[in-house]
Amino acid sequence: MIVTGILISLLLHAIIPWPENDHPRVYDFLISIIITILVWEGNLRIDDMLNKKLPWVINPAKRILVHLPVSLVFSAFAIYIPMLVFNTYVCENVELHQGKLMLSSIAIGVLISFMILSVEISTQFFSNWKKSLVEVEKYKAESAQAQLQNLKSQINPHFLFNNMSVLASLVYKDQDKAVDFINQLSKVYRYLLDSRNSELVSLDSELAFIKSYTYLLQIRFDKSFVFEMDVPQNLLSKLIPPMALQMLVENAVKHNEVSTDHPLTVSVSANENYLTIKIIFNCARMKKTQLKPDCKYTARYKHFTNNEVEIIENEKSYIVKIPYFEN
């Protein structure tokens, strides 16, 4: 930076014909270097400060509108004041006090600042833009992955197969229940189709879907699977990603014991900020693998919101808190 200062001052002295001075040339260089350092460092501080108060990502237009004038005004003063001091105390030459010369040096200084500033601002702007584009691509990839997983797991033979076995038993045993079961199964697949292309769904529709889904589970596991839900009416319009709840329930059933000795309870509740799902498994055996999907799960969420999915593990239960989203 000091090197640049020297170079700029050399440049300036080469370009501008200074009149003969009554002081050594070295002072001229010195003042140029001081001015360069002031302008450079000052602008760096301004940039830092604005990065904290008005970051590029939040409001690029405003940032440019503020950054440019502030920097240029500062640069102008950073040139004017030292020169004033210089002229008053060091250089006795009256001609140099002429406004015209001062003005031209300020003008050149500001121009150079402006050029450097423009390069700096554009670089920052484009690098931030690129970063956000990369974020979007990453999200798209992860979202596609999650969607694929979901599709695979639902239209996958196992899910269908299990439910068909249950249905087969029901047909002989209790025909009314069999019909209910078929209806709920259809509702599940209907929801899978409808929500496939949505980024977000209302709590209302996701909960309705979960009711159907857990109905199937309750028929299959009888008293070994308990589902409870308590969500206030006014929160039903909140938005969450589709299948968010279902993924957790499916996981809970897959990795925990569901038996008469150790029933599995899934309890869903909600408050202003989170949808809470609590899974009580009542059993010492819990496979560690159960948490793995949650990592991909929480990763998906990071793209949408600053609130994170919270996972609280206890000895006999675990709780997952899902934040809501803005559209």
Binding site: F161, N162, S165, V166, S169, Y172, S224, S259, D261
Partner: protein, 81 residues
């Protein structure tokens, strides 16, 4: 013929029971739904002609039962999941 079912899903056990009743003379005398209960049940050495055993039980694989105690009754293994 008397048989015992080891199966954790109640509905499936009922289905098998009814199917056997319809298609054969096999009568189901007991249904046991976990590895733990099986170990207790079979240590009392009950008598039966046949066992229908689901591989996946709620608290483990049914093979665990047979590795822990010797059961003299012929088994038919089946899978639902």
């Amino acid at each position: 013929m008397k048989a015992i079912i080891i199966e954790d899903e109640k509905l499936s056990a009922e289905y098998l029971t009814n199917l056997l009743k319809k298609l054969s003379s096999i009568e189901i005398i007991a249904v046991i739904d976990s590895v733990k209960k099986s170990l207790d049940f079979f240590s009392a050495l009950p008598t039966a002609d046949l066992l229908f055993v689901d591989v996946h039980l709620a608290d483990g694989l049914s093979f665990e039962i047979f590795s822990k105690i010797a059961i003299d009754i012929p088994n038919i293994y089946y899978r639902l999941r």
